[in-house]
């Protein structure tokens, strides 16, 4: 994830809670946000104090203001924050949260 210090949400934006799927996989967790009208330039994902925050400004409007999708999740310390990857396609933002080294299962053979 890159730092986007210039990201800003318009004052008249209407906040909307996007639908998400959270899918557990062998190598980690995948989160898919529905953010129609947003693209990589208007999406901001950050992790601070263990909280993953997603903001996305859409080209859609409601009540005269642009729609701003917002959602946050508490992450466990089993997530490798530095390895989080994000991509967007067809209005769906997909975050891949890999497991940290601590979370991997080490099987020890008993002799």
């Amino acid at each position: 994830m890159e730092d986007k210090k210039c990201f800003s949400v318009p004052e008249n934006a209407v906040e909307v809670r996007p639908a998400v799927d959270v899918i557990e996989e062998d190598c980690g967790v995948k989160i898919m946000f529905e953010v129609p009208g947003a693209n990589s330039e208007t999406i901001d994902v950050s992790v601070e104090d263990g909280v993953l925050t997603m903001r996305a400004v859409s080209s859609l409007t409601r009540n005269g203001g642009p729609i701003c999708y917002y959602r946050a999740f508490q992450l466990s310390d089993m997530v490798d924050v530095a390895g989080i990857q994000a991509k967007t396609q067809d209005g769906v933002l997909t975050l891949c949260l890999p497991k940290s080294e601590r979370a991997t299962v080490h099987r020890i053979k008993v002799e």
Binding site: E15, V16, V22, E24, S59, F73
Partner: protein, 155 residues
Amino acid sequence: MNMLARNGKPRGLNFELSTQPLEEMVKSMFSCFPGFRSELVFGGQIGTKLDVAVKDKYVEVKFPCPGRCKEDFEIEVVGDFLTVKVVDCGKHKECCDNKRYVIRERTCESYEESVKLPVAVKGAETRAKYMHGILEITIPRVCEEKNGAHIVKVS
């Protein structure tokens, strides 16, 4: 393992201050009363996904439908009525079946909505494109004759 919770806290804890859950609750409580319209309470047009805007020379319809492909859409214009159908082309369902969902809020089910357009349109010249999860339909308007004055000479 739940990676979104720490020490057994609720899964998917979030902090948003959205009115959407309240809107859904009010709709479910009062929708049985005839004449109830949730848009009178919250504003906007809840219940329809088609956003129709009339421009000078065309009608623009936006339909947010993320995570689809253009083959999923069927668009019909009959007279002044526009119908948009979203069908599952198959690949969504296949990839949904074998996943371990912790939270599942998105849907890939079929959807259909019709709307009466507020002005006369040329349905045969309709154009549509799907980008960033939004289906944008552009329908040219029928040029209306201006109600100008007609001077009639008496012969």
